[in-house]
Symmetry: C2
Protein backbone atom coordinates (compact mmCIF):
# COMPACT_ATOMS: atom_id res chain seq x y z
CA UNK A 1 0.00 0.00 0.00
CA UNK A 2 1.17 3.49 -0.75
CA UNK A 3 1.63 5.87 2.12
CA UNK A 4 -1.04 8.58 2.19
CA UNK A 5 0.33 12.00 1.37
CA UNK A 6 0.91 14.29 4.32
CA UNK A 7 -2.17 16.34 5.22
CA UNK A 8 -4.35 14.03 3.27
CA UNK A 9 -6.25 11.34 5.17
CA UNK A 10 -6.34 7.80 3.75
CA UNK A 11 -9.21 7.31 1.31
CA UNK A 12 -11.27 5.09 3.65
CA UNK A 13 -10.95 7.51 6.57
CA UNK A 14 -11.83 10.34 4.23
CA UNK A 15 -15.00 8.59 3.06
CA UNK A 16 -15.96 7.80 6.67
CA UNK A 17 -15.42 11.40 7.68
CA UNK A 18 -17.48 12.67 4.79
CA UNK A 19 -20.27 10.24 5.70
CA UNK A 20 -20.20 11.49 9.29
CA UNK A 21 -20.39 15.11 8.11
CA UNK A 22 -23.34 14.36 5.82
CA UNK A 23 -25.14 12.44 8.57
CA UNK A 24 -24.58 15.32 11.02
CA UNK A 25 -25.73 17.93 8.48
CA UNK A 26 -28.82 15.87 7.57
CA UNK A 27 -29.83 15.52 11.22
CA UNK A 28 -29.23 19.21 11.99
CA UNK A 29 -30.89 20.58 8.83
CA UNK A 30 -33.89 18.31 9.48
CA UNK A 31 -34.33 19.39 13.09
CA UNK A 32 -33.13 23.02 13.13
CA UNK A 33 -33.48 24.03 9.50
CA UNK A 34 -30.72 24.97 7.05
CA UNK A 35 -30.57 28.61 8.18
CA UNK A 36 -30.72 27.63 11.84
CA UNK A 37 -27.67 25.35 11.54
CA UNK A 38 -24.10 26.62 11.76
CA UNK A 39 -21.14 25.01 10.01
CA UNK A 40 -19.28 24.81 13.32
CA UNK A 41 -22.18 22.89 14.80
CA UNK A 42 -22.00 20.36 11.96
CA UNK A 43 -18.29 19.89 12.64
CA UNK A 44 -18.87 19.39 16.36
CA UNK A 45 -21.61 16.83 15.80
CA UNK A 46 -19.54 14.98 13.19
CA UNK A 47 -16.50 15.16 15.49
CA UNK A 48 -14.42 16.87 12.80
CA UNK A 49 -12.15 19.85 13.44
CA UNK A 50 -13.05 23.08 11.70
CA UNK A 51 -9.95 23.06 9.46
CA UNK A 52 -10.55 19.46 8.39
CA UNK A 53 -14.24 20.22 7.80
CA UNK A 54 -13.42 22.52 4.91
CA UNK A 55 -11.17 19.87 3.47
CA UNK A 56 -14.26 17.67 3.05
CA UNK A 57 -16.92 20.20 2.10
CA UNK A 58 -17.00 23.39 0.11
CA UNK A 59 -19.78 25.13 2.00
CA UNK A 60 -22.99 24.57 3.95
CA UNK A 61 -24.93 25.05 0.72
CA UNK A 62 -22.80 22.39 -0.94
CA UNK A 63 -23.81 19.98 1.83
CA UNK A 64 -27.48 20.84 1.29
CA UNK A 65 -27.09 20.24 -2.42
CA UNK A 66 -25.39 16.87 -1.87
CA UNK A 67 -28.11 15.69 0.53
CA UNK A 68 -30.97 16.68 -1.77
CA UNK A 69 -29.24 15.43 -4.93
CA UNK A 70 -28.54 11.99 -3.44
CA UNK A 71 -32.10 11.64 -2.15
CA UNK A 72 -33.66 12.76 -5.43
CA UNK A 73 -31.41 10.39 -7.37
CA UNK A 74 -32.75 7.51 -5.27
CA UNK A 75 -36.34 8.61 -6.04
CA UNK A 76 -35.48 8.89 -9.73
CA UNK A 77 -33.76 5.50 -9.91
CA UNK A 78 -36.78 3.77 -8.34
CA UNK A 79 -39.22 5.64 -10.58
CA UNK A 80 -37.20 4.69 -13.67
CA UNK A 81 -37.02 1.06 -12.55
CA UNK A 82 -40.82 0.93 -12.11
CA UNK A 83 -41.35 2.66 -15.43
CA UNK A 84 -38.99 0.34 -17.33
CA UNK A 85 -41.01 -2.80 -16.58
CA UNK A 86 -43.58 -4.35 -18.92
CA UNK A 87 -46.38 -3.84 -16.39
CA UNK A 88 -49.60 -2.13 -17.40
CA UNK A 89 -50.04 1.55 -16.44
CA UNK A 90 -52.29 0.76 -13.45
CA UNK A 91 -49.70 -1.58 -11.95
CA UNK A 92 -46.92 0.90 -12.68
CA UNK A 93 -48.77 3.75 -10.99
CA UNK A 94 -49.52 1.53 -8.00
CA UNK A 95 -45.83 0.64 -7.80
CA UNK A 96 -44.79 4.30 -8.13
CA UNK A 97 -47.06 5.22 -5.21
CA UNK A 98 -45.78 2.33 -3.08
CA UNK A 99 -42.14 3.00 -3.90
CA UNK A 100 -42.52 6.73 -3.24
CA UNK A 101 -44.34 6.30 0.09
CA UNK A 102 -41.76 3.77 1.24
CA UNK A 103 -38.88 6.08 0.30
CA UNK A 104 -40.52 9.09 1.96
CA UNK A 105 -40.78 7.19 5.22
CA UNK A 106 -37.20 5.93 4.86
CA UNK A 107 -35.84 9.39 3.94
CA UNK A 108 -38.15 11.42 6.16
CA UNK A 109 -35.34 13.82 7.14
CA UNK A 110 -34.31 14.47 3.54
CA UNK A 111 -37.92 15.03 2.44
CA UNK A 112 -38.38 17.57 5.24
CA UNK A 113 -35.21 19.37 4.18
CA UNK A 114 -36.42 19.30 0.56
CA UNK A 115 -39.80 20.78 1.44
CA UNK A 116 -38.53 23.37 3.91
CA UNK A 117 -35.13 24.41 2.63
CA UNK A 118 -34.59 23.54 -1.04
CA UNK A 119 -35.23 27.26 -1.68
CA UNK A 120 -31.86 27.96 -0.04
CA UNK A 121 -30.06 26.45 -3.04
CA UNK A 122 -28.89 28.99 -5.60
CA UNK A 123 -27.62 29.06 -9.17
CA UNK A 124 -26.43 25.83 -10.74
CA UNK A 125 -27.33 23.47 -7.92
CA UNK A 126 -30.88 24.89 -7.70
CA UNK A 127 -31.27 24.34 -11.45
CA UNK A 128 -29.81 20.82 -11.31
CA UNK A 129 -32.07 19.80 -8.43
CA UNK A 130 -35.07 21.15 -10.31
CA UNK A 131 -34.01 19.14 -13.34
CA UNK A 132 -33.75 15.95 -11.28
CA UNK A 133 -37.17 16.61 -9.76
CA UNK A 134 -38.60 17.27 -13.22
CA UNK A 135 -37.24 13.91 -14.37
CA UNK A 136 -39.00 12.16 -11.48
CA UNK A 137 -42.21 13.94 -12.39
CA UNK A 138 -41.78 12.96 -16.05
CA UNK A 139 -41.77 9.29 -15.04
CA UNK A 140 -45.13 9.77 -13.31
CA UNK A 141 -46.44 11.82 -16.23
CA UNK A 142 -45.36 9.11 -18.70
CA UNK A 143 -47.29 6.45 -16.78
CA UNK A 144 -50.39 8.68 -16.75
CA UNK A 145 -49.94 9.41 -20.48
CA UNK A 146 -49.58 5.69 -21.21
CA UNK A 147 -52.67 4.94 -19.12
CA UNK A 148 -54.69 7.44 -21.14
CA UNK A 149 -53.35 6.00 -24.41
CA UNK A 150 -54.41 2.48 -23.41
CA UNK A 151 -57.79 3.76 -22.21
CA UNK A 152 -57.14 2.72 -18.59
CA UNK A 153 -57.09 6.26 -17.17
CA UNK A 154 -59.44 9.09 -17.97
CA UNK A 155 -57.01 11.91 -17.20
CA UNK A 156 -53.33 12.76 -17.58
CA UNK A 157 -53.73 16.42 -16.69
CA UNK A 158 -50.64 17.95 -15.09
CA UNK A 159 -52.83 19.01 -12.17
CA UNK A 160 -53.36 15.32 -11.41
CA UNK A 161 -49.66 14.47 -11.76
CA UNK A 162 -48.76 17.36 -9.44
CA UNK A 163 -51.52 16.35 -7.05
CA UNK A 164 -50.36 12.72 -6.93
CA UNK A 165 -46.80 13.74 -6.17
CA UNK A 166 -48.03 16.30 -3.62
CA UNK A 167 -50.21 13.68 -2.01
CA UNK A 168 -47.43 11.16 -1.56
CA UNK A 169 -44.88 13.80 -0.57
CA UNK A 170 -47.17 15.04 2.20
CA UNK A 171 -47.08 11.62 3.82
CA UNK A 172 -43.89 13.14 5.22
CA UNK A 173 -45.98 15.72 7.07
CA UNK A 174 -48.24 13.40 9.01
CA UNK A 175 -46.58 9.95 9.05
CA UNK A 176 -45.45 8.87 12.50
CA UNK A 177 -43.34 5.75 12.97
CA UNK A 178 -45.36 3.25 14.99
CA UNK A 179 -48.68 4.81 13.92
CA UNK A 180 -51.70 2.68 13.16
CA UNK A 181 -50.83 2.07 9.47
CA UNK A 182 -47.62 0.76 7.92
CA UNK A 183 -46.13 2.49 4.87
CA UNK A 184 -47.40 -0.37 2.68
CA UNK A 185 -50.93 -0.01 4.08
CA UNK A 186 -50.80 3.76 3.58
CA UNK A 187 -49.64 3.30 -0.03
CA UNK A 188 -52.44 0.78 -0.62
CA UNK A 189 -55.14 3.14 0.74
CA UNK A 190 -53.79 6.05 -1.30
CA UNK A 191 -53.69 3.90 -4.44
CA UNK A 192 -57.29 2.75 -3.85
CA UNK A 193 -58.42 6.36 -3.59
CA UNK A 194 -56.45 7.42 -6.66
CA UNK A 195 -57.76 4.57 -8.81
CA UNK A 196 -61.33 4.21 -7.65
CA UNK A 197 -62.18 7.27 -5.58
CA UNK A 198 -63.92 7.19 -2.24
CA UNK A 199 -67.57 7.09 -3.33
CA UNK A 200 -69.56 3.88 -3.22
CA UNK A 201 -71.33 4.71 -6.47
CA UNK A 202 -68.39 3.32 -8.47
CA UNK B 1 -61.67 63.30 20.81
CA UNK B 2 -59.32 62.68 23.67
CA UNK B 3 -55.67 63.44 23.16
CA UNK B 4 -53.54 60.29 22.83
CA UNK B 5 -51.24 59.74 25.76
CA UNK B 6 -47.61 60.68 25.24
CA UNK B 7 -45.54 57.83 23.83
CA UNK B 8 -48.66 56.00 22.75
CA UNK B 9 -49.77 56.33 19.12
CA UNK B 10 -53.47 56.91 18.38
CA UNK B 11 -55.41 53.65 18.04
CA UNK B 12 -55.86 53.89 14.25
CA UNK B 13 -52.18 54.63 13.64
CA UNK B 14 -51.33 51.79 15.97
CA UNK B 15 -53.50 49.33 14.02
CA UNK B 16 -52.00 50.55 10.72
CA UNK B 17 -48.50 50.13 12.07
CA UNK B 18 -49.25 46.65 13.34
CA UNK B 19 -50.71 45.73 9.94
CA UNK B 20 -47.55 47.01 8.22
CA UNK B 21 -45.37 44.98 10.58
CA UNK B 22 -47.41 41.82 9.97
CA UNK B 23 -47.33 42.37 6.20
CA UNK B 24 -43.54 42.90 6.28
CA UNK B 25 -42.99 39.82 8.46
CA UNK B 26 -45.25 37.67 6.25
CA UNK B 27 -43.36 38.70 3.13
CA UNK B 28 -39.93 38.18 4.70
CA UNK B 29 -40.75 34.87 6.41
CA UNK B 30 -42.25 33.59 3.13
CA UNK B 31 -39.24 34.54 1.02
CA UNK B 32 -36.29 34.19 3.42
CA UNK B 33 -37.65 31.84 6.07
CA UNK B 34 -38.28 32.56 9.74
CA UNK B 35 -34.69 31.88 10.79
CA UNK B 36 -33.30 33.84 7.86
CA UNK B 37 -35.25 36.97 8.81
CA UNK B 38 -34.02 39.46 11.41
CA UNK B 39 -36.30 41.61 13.57
CA UNK B 40 -34.45 44.75 12.42
CA UNK B 41 -35.18 43.81 8.81
CA UNK B 42 -38.89 43.55 9.58
CA UNK B 43 -38.79 47.03 11.12
CA UNK B 44 -36.98 48.50 8.12
CA UNK B 45 -39.42 46.97 5.65
CA UNK B 46 -42.42 48.10 7.71
CA UNK B 47 -40.84 51.54 8.12
CA UNK B 48 -41.01 51.31 11.91
CA UNK B 49 -38.19 52.34 14.24
CA UNK B 50 -36.68 49.62 16.36
CA UNK B 51 -37.95 51.07 19.65
CA UNK B 52 -41.49 51.42 18.29
CA UNK B 53 -41.31 47.89 16.85
CA UNK B 54 -41.18 46.34 20.29
CA UNK B 55 -44.12 48.47 21.34
CA UNK B 56 -46.18 46.61 18.73
CA UNK B 57 -44.79 43.09 18.95
CA UNK B 58 -43.44 40.91 21.71
CA UNK B 59 -40.97 38.92 19.63
CA UNK B 60 -40.31 37.46 16.18
CA UNK B 61 -41.88 34.20 17.36
CA UNK B 62 -44.96 36.12 18.47
CA UNK B 63 -45.28 37.50 14.92
CA UNK B 64 -44.98 33.98 13.48
CA UNK B 65 -47.66 32.76 15.86
CA UNK B 66 -50.00 35.64 14.94
CA UNK B 67 -49.58 35.02 11.20
CA UNK B 68 -50.21 31.27 11.45
CA UNK B 69 -53.06 31.65 13.97
CA UNK B 70 -54.92 34.17 11.79
CA UNK B 71 -54.50 32.05 8.66
CA UNK B 72 -55.58 28.84 10.39
CA UNK B 73 -58.59 30.62 11.89
CA UNK B 74 -59.69 31.60 8.36
CA UNK B 75 -59.34 27.95 7.25
CA UNK B 76 -61.29 26.79 10.29
CA UNK B 77 -64.09 29.34 9.86
CA UNK B 78 -64.60 28.30 6.22
CA UNK B 79 -64.49 24.59 7.07
CA UNK B 80 -67.03 25.11 9.85
CA UNK B 81 -69.29 27.12 7.52
CA UNK B 82 -69.21 24.33 4.92
CA UNK B 83 -69.81 21.69 7.57
CA UNK B 84 -72.75 23.57 9.13
CA UNK B 85 -74.87 23.46 5.95
CA UNK B 86 -77.55 20.85 5.23
CA UNK B 87 -75.69 19.63 2.13
CA UNK B 88 -75.00 15.93 1.67
CA UNK B 89 -71.47 14.67 2.50
CA UNK B 90 -70.37 14.57 -1.15
CA UNK B 91 -71.30 18.23 -1.67
CA UNK B 92 -69.69 19.18 1.62
CA UNK B 93 -66.43 17.44 0.75
CA UNK B 94 -66.44 19.05 -2.68
CA UNK B 95 -66.95 22.45 -1.01
CA UNK B 96 -64.21 21.78 1.54
CA UNK B 97 -61.78 20.98 -1.29
CA UNK B 98 -62.80 24.07 -3.28
CA UNK B 99 -62.68 26.37 -0.26
CA UNK B 100 -59.30 25.00 0.85
CA UNK B 101 -57.69 25.24 -2.61
CA UNK B 102 -58.98 28.80 -3.00
CA UNK B 103 -57.62 29.82 0.41
CA UNK B 104 -54.27 28.16 -0.24
CA UNK B 105 -53.85 30.18 -3.40
CA UNK B 106 -54.97 33.36 -1.63
CA UNK B 107 -52.74 32.73 1.41
CA UNK B 108 -49.83 31.17 -0.46
CA UNK B 109 -47.27 33.00 1.70
CA UNK B 110 -48.89 31.90 4.95
CA UNK B 111 -49.15 28.28 3.77
CA UNK B 112 -45.45 28.32 2.88
CA UNK B 113 -44.57 29.67 6.31
CA UNK B 114 -46.82 27.03 7.90
CA UNK B 115 -45.16 24.19 6.00
CA UNK B 116 -41.61 25.43 6.38
CA UNK B 117 -41.46 27.16 9.74
CA UNK B 118 -44.33 26.18 12.02
CA UNK B 119 -41.76 24.01 13.80
CA UNK B 120 -40.13 27.22 15.08
CA UNK B 121 -43.09 27.82 17.40
CA UNK B 122 -42.56 26.63 20.95
CA UNK B 123 -44.60 25.95 24.07
CA UNK B 124 -48.12 27.33 24.29
CA UNK B 125 -48.35 28.80 20.80
CA UNK B 126 -47.15 25.55 19.21
CA UNK B 127 -49.82 23.67 21.16
CA UNK B 128 -52.54 26.20 20.30
CA UNK B 129 -51.69 26.12 16.60
CA UNK B 130 -51.78 22.33 16.65
CA UNK B 131 -55.19 22.49 18.34
CA UNK B 132 -56.53 24.84 15.64
CA UNK B 133 -55.14 22.57 12.93
CA UNK B 134 -56.70 19.55 14.62
CA UNK B 135 -60.05 21.34 14.62
CA UNK B 136 -59.78 21.95 10.86
CA UNK B 137 -58.94 18.27 10.36
CA UNK B 138 -61.91 17.26 12.56
CA UNK B 139 -64.25 19.10 10.17
CA UNK B 140 -62.92 17.03 7.27
CA UNK B 141 -63.03 13.85 9.35
CA UNK B 142 -66.64 14.56 10.33
CA UNK B 143 -67.67 14.90 6.69
CA UNK B 144 -65.94 11.59 5.86
CA UNK B 145 -67.57 9.95 8.89
CA UNK B 146 -70.98 11.27 7.83
CA UNK B 147 -70.41 10.06 4.27
CA UNK B 148 -69.64 6.56 5.55
CA UNK B 149 -72.70 6.63 7.80
CA UNK B 150 -74.95 7.55 4.86
CA UNK B 151 -73.28 4.93 2.67
CA UNK B 152 -71.94 7.55 0.22
CA UNK B 153 -68.26 6.93 0.99
CA UNK B 154 -66.53 3.63 1.41
CA UNK B 155 -63.75 4.88 3.71
CA UNK B 156 -63.24 7.35 6.55
CA UNK B 157 -59.77 6.10 7.46
CA UNK B 158 -57.51 8.76 8.98
CA UNK B 159 -54.95 7.98 6.26
CA UNK B 160 -57.48 9.27 3.73
CA UNK B 161 -58.30 12.40 5.76
CA UNK B 162 -54.58 13.13 6.15
CA UNK B 163 -54.02 12.43 2.47
CA UNK B 164 -56.83 14.75 1.37
CA UNK B 165 -55.48 17.59 3.49
CA UNK B 166 -51.94 16.87 2.30
CA UNK B 167 -53.10 16.82 -1.29
CA UNK B 168 -54.83 20.20 -1.12
CA UNK B 169 -52.07 21.75 1.02
CA UNK B 170 -49.47 20.75 -1.57
CA UNK B 171 -51.24 22.84 -4.18
CA UNK B 172 -49.14 25.50 -2.47
CA UNK B 173 -46.01 23.74 -3.69
CA UNK B 174 -46.74 23.69 -7.41
CA UNK B 175 -49.45 26.31 -8.04
CA UNK B 176 -48.22 29.25 -10.13
CA UNK B 177 -50.41 32.31 -10.67
CA UNK B 178 -51.26 32.54 -14.34
CA UNK B 179 -50.70 28.80 -14.87
CA UNK B 180 -52.92 26.80 -17.20
CA UNK B 181 -55.59 25.99 -14.58
CA UNK B 182 -57.50 28.33 -12.27
CA UNK B 183 -57.91 27.46 -8.57
CA UNK B 184 -61.53 26.47 -9.26
CA UNK B 185 -60.47 24.15 -12.09
CA UNK B 186 -57.75 22.65 -9.91
CA UNK B 187 -60.26 22.06 -7.11
CA UNK B 188 -62.67 20.45 -9.57
CA UNK B 189 -60.03 18.06 -10.95
CA UNK B 190 -58.88 17.11 -7.45
CA UNK B 191 -62.48 16.50 -6.37
CA UNK B 192 -63.12 14.33 -9.44
CA UNK B 193 -60.09 12.20 -8.57
CA UNK B 194 -61.04 11.96 -4.91
CA UNK B 195 -64.63 10.95 -5.64
CA UNK B 196 -64.29 8.77 -8.70
CA UNK B 197 -60.61 7.95 -9.10
CA UNK B 198 -58.73 8.14 -12.36
CA UNK B 199 -59.53 4.75 -13.87
CA UNK B 200 -62.08 4.38 -16.64
CA UNK B 201 -63.37 1.11 -15.19
CA UNK B 202 -65.65 3.02 -12.80
Amino acid sequence: MTQPRRGRPPAQDSADTRDRIIEAATELFATKGFHGTGVAEIGTRADVQRGALYYHIKSKEDLLWGILRDYTNVLLAEAEAVSATDDDPTTKLHNLIRSHVTLIVKYQREVGIQIKDSGALTGGSAAQLQELRDRVQQQWQQVLDDGCATGDFRTNDHVITNSLLGLVNMVWFWYRPGGSSTPTEIAHMIAAMVFDGITTRN
